[in-house]
């Protein structure tokens, strides 16, 4: 039992980080039809800049986090203005956008390495402090991340559901051509999308750095495929789906190692389990967990 609770908790923590990163990717995809392969590197950037602000510049951690999120947003917007906007105007398809995103990922990843070096970093956060819950050791830093991430996603999901700009975003992803002729400020929608994606990308990176205690410039890339799996699992474009997709993936990956289940799969197979879950779910629900079967017209 204790082990189950432990694995479940670990899975939830990881899942919440997947979820928060997945949200940005999911939004960008549904609004801009862009599979943002550079998203992983925004995670790395967020963690490294937070480290820089907090540890090198001795700013309070929360200030460092906010500054990093701002930076993530700024870079997302700069890329929008110098690259994505022009590409969309030239009528570039999904694949062209995707390839440019890999190009952006190359540039971003190498820039981070060039600026911050290849050494690993860690935040000045106590990783060890735990309390016992049902026999499981719950790490305080992890619990904090789980709470913050879940709250952040819920808030953003509510924002997307209720606010004017959120509704406009959904309208744009639903039907871009109609949106642009029905008084929706398309530029503002796109800026909002990049803002959320940039800020949440950085936040996910900071959370991952917090949970693991240590990170290198390969962090984002290592997580990217799992995050993409979470996006698809929770149905592309669904904010809550991103969180649920992340949770499902995180929990399944952790629980797969439990001996009570089929004797436990070696933990080196965790990524295989994650992808297998993705494939199996899609076989039964081809449009993801939250997908709706559409009426053919």
């Amino acid at each position: 039992m204790a082990e189950f609770v432990q694995l479940l908790f670990n899975g939830l923590v990881e899942g919440s980080i997947f979820g928060i990163a997945a949200l940005g990717i999911s939004l960008v995809y549904s609004v801009l039809k862009l599979v943002n392969f550079a998203a992983g590197d925004f995670l790395t950037l967020g963690a490294f800049t937070t480290f820089f602000f907090a540890t090198n510049s001795h700013l309070p951690f929360i200030v460092a986090v906010l500054l990093s999120m701002l930076l993530g947003v700024a870079i997302s917007l700069i890329l929008e203005f110098i690259i994505w906007r022009k590409l969309r105007k030239s009528g570039a398809g999904m694949l062209a956008l995707f390839l440019v995103a890999t190009g952006v990922a190359f540039v971003l990843r190498q820039s981070i390495a060039l600026i911050f070096g290849s050494n690993s970093r860690k935040f000045d956060i106590d990783q060890i402090k735990t309390f016992e819950f049902l026999g499981a050791q719950i790490a305080q830093a992890q619990l904090a991340v789980l709470c913050c991430a879940s709250v952040a996603i819920t808030v953003i999901a509510l924002f997307i559901k209720k606010s004017t700009i959120g509704k406009n975003m959904r309208a744009y992803s639903d039907n871009p051509s109609l949106a642009s002729v029905s008084g929706i400020n398309v530029d503002r929608v796109i800026i909002a999308t990049w803002t959320i994606s940039g800020a949440f990308g950085a936040l996910a990176g900071i959370f991952q750095g917090t949970v693991q205690g240590q990170f290198t410039n390969g962090m984002g890339l290592d997580l990217l495929l799992s995050i993409l799996a979470a996006v698809v699992l929770g149905t592309i474009g669904d904010a809550y789906g991103a969180l649920i997709g992340g949770f499902v993936l995180g929990i399944v990956m952790e629980l797969s190692t439990w001996d009570a289940l089929l004797g436990g799969i070696p933990s080196t197979y965790k990524p295989v389990v994650a992808f297998a879950v993705l494939v199996i779910v899609l076989l039964f629900k081809p449009e993801g967990i939250f997908g709706v079967k559409a009426r053919k017209i």
Partner: protein, 258 residues
């Protein structure tokens, strides 16, 4: 011998809790022109999707030439001889107009990769298919676009191409989904002539969805009226105008009073 080519028995299907077709029963006689009319959302297009296999029914049966087809995949149903057109006139935009038509060719040996090693058979068919396609293009008057991307055609021209492509497939039963909507009246008449010629020559059966009542009344042997997923009336064109259920559900009082 049964002269019904198509029998739809108590077919139902729903999407996300909404019953699109709700126990529809109808049949089509060999060589007839049958029109399906009805208000929007009555389930007409869904009915077509069911017959052509694009949608699987939740319950009910569909028989074509006396054999069940409702569990078959769309291409199997097409192989049996039911060919359809689409409401929005679907053309393959990035294929040439000619290629769009040649897509309709049936039993093309070139469709099978095994015949890649048998170029003789492939090419013979291809030449024959191309000739036939060009002939049809001339009939619908867009042969000058043969080698252009179909994506450059206007809405009306796409309708024509969609129809011609269906004819390429030598159907026994042709399902036409709003073939005349958005086509200007002069062209509609030309189309009707083509269809009439085909009907008399090949004993083709037509089942069509159409909103333009005058056209429907002119060409149909029989009219089926659908509303809310069911058949609410079925009979000779003239009888429809007098049917109170049809007036309520579809025509509206003003039209009927005319």
């Amino acid at each position: 011998m049964n002269n019904l080519i198509l029998e739809v028995n108590d077919v139902a299907v729903s999407f996300g809790g909404v019953r699109a077709v709700n126990g529809a029963t109808l049949d089509v006689e060999v060589g007839s022109v049958t029109s399906v009319i009805g208000p929007n959302g009555a389930g007409k297009t869904t009915l077509f999707n069911l017959i052509s296999g694009a949608t699987k029914p939740d319950s009910g049966t569909i028989l074509f030439e006396g054999l069940e087809i409702h569990n078959l995949l769309p291409h199997k149903i097409a192989d049996r001889g039911i060919i359809r057109t689409f409401q929005g006139a679907k053309v393959i935009k990035r294929l040439s107009v000619l290629d769009n038509l040649m897509l309709g060719g049936q039993d093309n040996p070139g469709d099978s990769l095994v015949n890649f090693l048998n170029p003789k058979a492939r090419k013979a068919y291809e030449v024959q298919c191309r000739e036939r396609a060009m002939e049809l293009l001339k009939q619908i008057g867009i042969e000058r676009f043969a080698d252009e991307y179909a994506g450059i055609l206007s809405g009306g021209q796409r309708k024509l191409l969609d129809l011609a492509r269906a004819l390429m497939a030598n159907p026994t039963l042709l399902l036409l989904d709003e073939p005349f909507a958005g086509v200007n009246p002069t062209l509609v008449e030309k189309l009707l002539e083509v269809l009439h010629a085909l009907r008399s020559k090949h004993n083709l059966t037509f089942l069509l969805i159409e909103h333009d009542l005058e056209t429907v009344m002119n060409i149909s042997d029989r009219v089926i009226v659908m509303a809310e997923g069911r058949v609410i009336a079925d009979g000779k064109p003239n009888s429809i105008y007098e049917n109170q259920a049809v007036i309520d559900a579809y025509l509206g009082t003003r039209k009927a009073s005319k």
